[in-house]
Amino acid sequence: MKSKIGAALISLGLALYACGACAQEQGPGLDAHGQLQNPALQLRFERITKELRCLVCQNESIADSNVELASDLRRQVREMLVGGKSDDAIFSFMTDRYGEFVRFAPPLTAKTALIWGAPFVMLLLGGIVVFRVARQRSRMPLDE
């Protein structure tokens, strides 16, 4: 009985906490739920903010982070969208100020080629090792 009440209290607490974390944003062009009135813009807003890194927490996107800088950057993205800026213009606004690091998926350039290429190089190296080991084993005489 007691444990049931305890569990209820804990879940209530969690619910309250979750609500506190998802504080609604206000501003021009926003509806009562803190979303952009134009649904097409809201979709772009969600996609762009998921693609931008919060530089304070570094492993969170500005869509997920509650840090003040993230909320300032969300406001910036929203204002630029309402102002009719393209996705590219918004991304370059951010990279001009914070560097390529703000993008979770930086565009493929000569500078980022290593990041994009490394997994394939690793796979190739691993494949070569496996191939050589397998070939060596197949040449070994079967004693047993």
Partner: protein, 178 residues
């Protein structure tokens, strides 16, 4: 021969990687600023100490200056405050103190109580000027040359040693027109 050499080379490569990656002198949160060598973004903001005074860095063109990003809520800023006061007493460069997402009264009170190392204290309440400068925390300190270009950015509190080693030579270089 290869059987010995290859693992050894891999081991050496790992040691080098770890020596770099685990070095205590390296701050993993420190990011290179893309604004180095670029014109300093302009701002025109009211002064914390006197809200009728508008501070703009466009009036500083032709001058080498330091811009320090701080706030009354920022504890590491408190740490460097004494050092900034000492620097300002030497009158080497003007220090602009961008007050970042702060409450004006608290900021003003702090400077009145602990001393004001800044020649001007632009009040960046909503952090817009800070976004233009690529600020992502406080304290951050920028050095701007006479052409109005950002030449150096330092993240984390300034110490006497940092000032000596990192700032003074760059200030001298910026003055000599380099």
């Amino acid at each position: 021969m290869w059987k010995f050499l290859l693992p050894f080379a891999a081991f050496v490569a790992l040691v080098v990687l770890f020596a770099f990656g685990l070095s205590p002198n390296r701050d993993i949160h420190e990011l290179p600023s893309p604004l180095i060598g670029k014109p300093a973004p302009e701002f025109a903001l009211a002064d914390v100490m006197d809200d009728t005074r508008i501070v703009s860095n466009s009036t500083l063109k032709g001058q080498v200056y330091v811009m320090n990003v701080w706030a009354s809520w920022c504890l590491p800023c408190r740490q460097e405050h004494a050092q900034l006061l000492a620097i300002s007493r030497q009158n080497i460069v003007p220090i602009i103190g961008l007050d970042y997402m702060d409450q004006r009264e608290k900021a003003k009170q702090l400077l009145e109580q602990l001393g004001n190392p800044y020649t001007a204290v632009p009040f960046d309440k909503d952090g817009r000027a800070a976004i233009d400068w690529g600020v992502y925390g406080a304290p951050e300190t920028y050095l701007v040359n006479a052409k109005g270009q950002i030449v150096f950015k330092f993240i984390s509190p300034i110490t006497a040693e940092i000032w000596q080693k990192e700032f003074l030579p760059r200030i001298a270089a910026a003055r000599s027109g380099a």
